[in-house]
Symmetry: C2
Subunit: 358 residues, 2 copies
DNA sequence: TTGAAAGCGCTAACAT
DNA sequence: ATGTTAGCGCTTTCAA
């Protein structure tokens, strides 16, 4: 879109390596041994006040910065955790990443964040790269479907946790909620309002346990109430035209549909916009739901009914547990979170009038 | 909101340190020296094919993973870059972070991403922490207003670049656009449509060059056309009630306002929602603009007029330049990007009827 | 082409 | 309480 039109003057023509200040320099300056420098900086109480002050002063004077690479090599600990997410440029993932990164830094850790796509069957290479760069713990979004990753983590003693989806009795601890149960909540609400012809827009289910669980529960519910399942699968890289196209397909092929479940809020946003273009009134002619309750859901017109997911809490819990495990070998125990339906204006009782394309 | 109701069974009761596979193990297995192992893995061409194959085979058999900590200590290179952003849980920042992280990994780097707040006058501590954890290059969002950070980076030879805001002739290379010019574009468009009474909702300007530049240009423009500047400052941590309150203040104190510039799209979203509640018709009674053109801007009703910012391109350019500099000492040269007004339905010519609170 | 050996910066075991 | 020293895993001279 935009092109660069100008270039600032060059800043440094070459990378000049300045001599690095090390513990030896500080030790010399303070007139102590390198061990005392290390102690004064890491365990101040174990050093006499006078020496400690001299060390701190010397370190400040020389502008000393600890080299965590040397430290990490010696301690065999990096205090780095890596997070693998399908993508980062999407509110829900970004909120999760934000919660994780903040938790890490509060605990003197730092984190790599890597967008790795929606297919959890091929995470190994990405994870391996991050571990090789120093990650000593791994947080993965959703159910881990890659045996290579699981084996790799086990072989290298890298603790591995999963966030967002909850599973009982999994080898890998999960910090999340039950996607199927959440969809159940949504469908139960719609059914109670009187909806029977319900459609779904989902992402691909391959390697994506969240979408798979929601689709499965939806199919089962339709079977129960004797309705034909109507599902449109679209790419998960949020492209408004995809949502729009899916809506057009559904209303043209299944004009009897009275409610539409979108498996992500952002899909519902584009569907809502398209519905307006098509002259379909939401919720009068079509009830619409999203998933995740991202901030903007309440700001649309009508406000979007959706499932509230405790994204931030899950991220913090996963990161906190992982850190505790890394620090003190505390047992790594998954946690189940609850979701709830946020009923807003995009849903109403079904009206007798059917949806029709203009 | 949600509480955890269940706990999965414990996975590992203690962290058992498995003996680590090192170059020595691979060397022994392959019957070569550790030097040959290193060469076979890093510079295959310098090792006879037969030995090379033996090494690779041994490494695979032993499940060897290179330890980048040892490598980094020896090479004095980590291939880690850190990015400091005001926050991560917001679409525009998330898109930028995503572009940077992807660029890094494509170049065999990895990245720390740290939310560090909106005040660029106090970045030093955060940056120092990331450098101590191994970052050898730093990308900072917006103009760097912290002399401590600049001095620190210079003292430790840490290349430092700024992304999003462009400045000519800055000591630190900037990859961004001119925030003032962008606001000029917006105001020129509104003025051309006939607007004279224009208000602005901004974030705090302290330590935030983006907001400061936009406010300054706005004030100057109002002076030029002889209108009183009407500015509401709100917290930048997107809280819909803040935007709503700012709108109510503006229309109650200045009912003559015909256009409202919001310095972020997300603020405009909440203002738009509140306008509907108040019965203010957009754009008939009030023209509304945002900033950044995040994906959802086009999906609102009416679609939001805004400034398109090449977020992804800026992020990729900053990361690419930094990597090239790190790899080969290539000069670090800033780049200026262009913005443009995206005219959508939230803006129209001003109508004679004034905005009134219901 | 390959091997031996040094050493990156740090912490911790041991000695004093 | 402080100093001496070994060594974490790796790459890269230097020598063969």
């Amino acid at each position: 879109m935009e092109t660069n039109v100008a270039r600032t003057p060059t800043v440094r023509s070459a990378r000049v390596k300045r001599a690095k200040v090390t513990v030896h320099d500080v030790a010399r300056e303070a007139g102590v041994s390198i061990a005392t420098v290390s102690r004064a900086l890491n365990a101040p109480d174990s050093v006499r006040k006078e020496l400690r002050d001299r060390v701190v002063q010397a370190a400040t004077a020389l502008n000393y910065t600890i080299d965590s690479v040397g430290k990490a090599l010696r301690r065999q600990r990096t205090q780095i955790v890596a997070t693998l997410l399908p993508r980062l440029d999407d509110p829900m993932f970004a909120i999760l990443a934000s919660a994780i990164q903040e938790t890490l830094v509060e605990n003197n850790y730092v984190g790599f964040v890597q967008p790795s796509g929606f297919d959890n069957r091929t995470l190994h290479d990405c994870a391996r790269n991050l571990v090789e760069k120093g990650a000593e713990g791994l947080i993965v979004f959703g159910k881990i479907d890659d045996p290579d990753l699981v084996n790799f983590a086990a072989a290298h003693d890298i603790p591995l946790v999963s966030v967002y989806s909850y599973y009982e009795d999994m080898a890998i601890p999960t910090f999340g909620f039950d996607n199927g149960a959440a969809t159940e909540q949504l469908i139960a609400m719609l059914v109670q309002l009187g909806h029977e012809r319900i459609a779904m827009i989902s992402g691909p289910v391959e390697g994506n346990d969240r979408q798979a669980a929601r689709v499965a529960v939806y199919r089962e519910a339709m079977r129960r109430i004797g309705s034909e399942p109507v599902i449109e699968f679209i790419d998960m890289s949020f492209e408004p035209p995809d949502g729009a196209l899916a809506l057009r397909r559904i209303v043209s092929r299944h004009p009897e549909i009275s409610a539409l479940i979108c498996n992500r809020d952002v899909i519902a946003f584009s569907v809502l916009a398209e519905a307006k273009k098509l002259g379909i009134r939401v919720p009068e002619q079509l009830s619409l739901t999203g998933f995740d309750d991202i901030d903007y859901a309440a700001l649309f017109d009508p406000p979007l009914t959706t499932i509230a997911v405790p994204t931030e809490e899950m991220g913090r819990a996963a990161a906190t547990s992982l850190i505790r495990h890394l620090e003190s070998g505390a047992p790594l125990t998954g946690m189940r979170f609850e979701t709830r339906v946020i009923l807003r204006g995009s849903v109403s009782r079904p009206k007798p009038s059917l949806v029709r394309l203009p």
